[in-house]
Symmetry: C2
Subunit: 260 residues, 2 copies
């Protein structure tokens, strides 16, 4: 197994730092290859700009088309090319980050904004009567697996079905479905440590044990059964879920996960 | 009216740039005061780090507590203090940005990560039997209004109730509820321009007209009726929505909006 860990926390000795270290030692100890993109240590540039597209930056700047032309020409910046190469090398990608304001930290969002360029992660495949590009289950990263490992400040109850923050699965849906499944990654159920800000030190061994268990079963864990876009569940090109697939009146992100 | 516009797009002549320019001219033309934080023009630092907290950065770094201590001592960096001052000056805050990967661009997320510090935007108010801090309807920014003005690449159908991207209201919920309503801002229904990447130039006048109409009615538009945290709708401290307030079995973000 070849695992890329994308790590986004400013403090190496944090809980997030410990979970990444444990992932490296556990996976390497099991004979797997591991590479880590530690975004703070790399001083990762988070902000998209014309300088990302070199000779292909047009005036006015067109982020979609310019990034696609630079990708096709191989003239994206070295930092972005290196991350795309790591993604293509890996069969498994772990994202380790704290949930800040109900979303990923800016440095990680900037990794996606810059690495997931047009023609690499979107704008892939033809549009015709039976497919709307290769996305949501197909695409450049198809055949690979992804896993979010997330810490939250608030306790689990606040992220429950009726909790004030909204269900954790819904908060993570735009990442798991909209970002990871979009270019073809199969997404494993997330590993979430709730209440991390007030977690007593003596709770860490149990968290570590649970994380090791998830790491040891990466290859055999069933992914979240998101519905594939081009295989009959959606009208094309409206991409509305077809009638009859879920009870009428149901709505929300859960529609896009096949029922058991 | 005093309006702060937080603008996050790298190309001044983009649709986002045009919408911000139109907002400035429309609001100033109506006699209001307007300030703009153009994050790319300001070269906004998007990434949280120890350097943000000066003498209050501890070793190891503790983002929550260090940011709160620096806030209390008035020693946050000048760029962050300036944005907090603008928020306190404004009675209305508009956020203008493109939806990239179903979320805000990194530069804007980094504005929230750095400006919405502990003790300013969270960690405000006491915890006791009847309140869980001042948040979700109360807090530092209570009495002010916020509005998202967002462009999307995909067409509206993809963001409909049964569309593959998920409903636009659910995609924006973590921002509107989790980030803006949390420190007390009342959030107006968003202004969304769908299909922006392929919008013909001749469609712009209609978009501009609709945007001007929203700008002229900012003061009289009803905010989204999110449920206030400390006024009887939630159990404390679990913050579970009380039984009986919505049909059992309903779940998802919509629970946290009062029915008409």
């Amino acid at each position: 197994m070849k695992t890329l860990i994308v790590h986004a926390h400013p403090e190496p000795t944090s809980l997030n730092g410990s979970l990444t270290s444990l992932a490296v030692s556990t996976l390497e100890g099991a004979g797997h290859e591991v590479r880590v993109s530690d975004l703070h240590a790399m001083n990762w540039k988070a902000v998209v700009g014309a300088e990302d597209y070199g000779p292909h930056a047009s005036t006015p700047l067109d982020v979609v088309r310019d990034s696609g032309r630079a990708f096709d020409a191989g003239t994206l910046t070295a930092d972005v090319l290196a991350e795309q190469e790591k993604l293509l090398w890996a069969d498994t990608v772990i994202f380790q980050f704290p949930l800040w304001w109900y979303a990923m930290p800016a440095i990680l969002k900037g990794w996606f904004d810059r690495v997931f360029t047009y023609r690499f992660a979107y704008g892939v495949g033809e549009h015709n009567a039976t497919q709307y590009g290769e996305r949501f289950g197909e695409g450049t990263l198809a055949g690979r697996r992804a896993l979010l490992s997330v810490t939250t400040g608030g306790p689990e109850a606040h992220y429950a079905a009726r909790g004030i923050n909204g269900p954790i699965d819904d908060l993570l849906f735009p990442i798991q479905h909209g970002i990871l499944y979009y270019p073809g990654l199969e997404v494993l159920p997330p590993f979430v440590v709730f209440g991390a800000d007030r977690m007593p030190r003596e709770d860490y061994p149990d968290v570590a044990k649970a994380w090791e268990q998830r790491l040891r079963t990466l290859a055999t864990t069933e992914p979240i059964p998101f519905r594939r876009q081009n295989f009959g569940d959606y009208e094309i090109p409206s991409l509305a879920l077809k009638e009859g697939l879920e009870p009428l009146g149901r709505s929300g992100f859960g529609l896009h996960v096949r029922s058991a």
